[in-house]
Subunit: 141 residues, 2 copies
């Protein structure tokens, strides 16, 4: 990385501006993060959920490849930088209050998004029956 100034976005304005405006002004939380939902651009399946700080969001938008902020490693993380399963962004959306983004992606490499080797991180369904502890069942996809 260079010693360029940190990436910034305009601060959120009024509720009307945030919800109806045409300016991307993310509402970063106390840790400087917004949530990022990642879906498969072709199937629509939810692949993963991760976090972005301003730099990760800027890098993602500028390069078209998904970058996140790793809370455990406290650093920028280009998804797939080790596995090769990078995420090419087909479309990025932001929600009404601009504290979450939705990326529609195409997974490169082996085509799996989860570090466990599953295509999606959401590979288990919650099976709930009244009076019994919820259990998890592996899904087919």
């Amino acid at each position: 990385m260079t010693d360029a100034p940190p990436p910034t976005f305009p601060s959120p304005g009024s509720t009307a501006e945030v919800e109806q405006g045409t300016v991307l002004s993310p509402k970063f939380d106390a840790d400087g993060l917004v949530g990022a939902i990642v879906t498969d651009a072709a199937s629509g399946e939810v692949l993963m959920f991760a976090w972005m700080n301003a730099e990760a969001l800027r890098l993602s938008l500028d390069t078209g490849v998904a970058h996140f902020w790793s809370r455990s490693r406290q650093r920028i993380w280009r998804k797939g930088e080790e596995s090769g399963n990078t995420l090419a962004i087909a479309e990025a959306r932001v929600d009404c209050d601009q504290d979450a983004v939705w990326l529609k992606v195409t997974v490169a490499g082996a085509g799996v998004a989860c570090h466990t080797g599953a295509r999606s991180c959401f590979y288990r369904t919650i099976v709930s029956e009244a009076g019994a502890p919820a259990r998890l069942a592996r899904t087919a996809s």
Copy 2:
């Protein structure tokens, strides 16, 4: 509400148990929350992103209707309790490290999930061009 004990889930065990096990043991964050991604069970469209504490997750699983934790109002929130646009849960999934859930839902009432009146909270695409500030474009859906 009654004075029943607060809902609990088993504490997360080893990484292998969390990632490969059949026990729902959510990894709540420092605020006691997990993220909840909501998609339309029919179209797959991402409708909204919200938060759940243990009680909201328990109520959602027990009733089949989505409940969240409102961070702004600091209370349990049955989505649609005022608008009528409640969310019937067709399927619930949890991700690899059990700090996010994915709900596939059918929206009741007017069929819109966003408080702005949009079907989805993600009604704007981020349009990014090198060297220019990102702007937002309203989507058709």
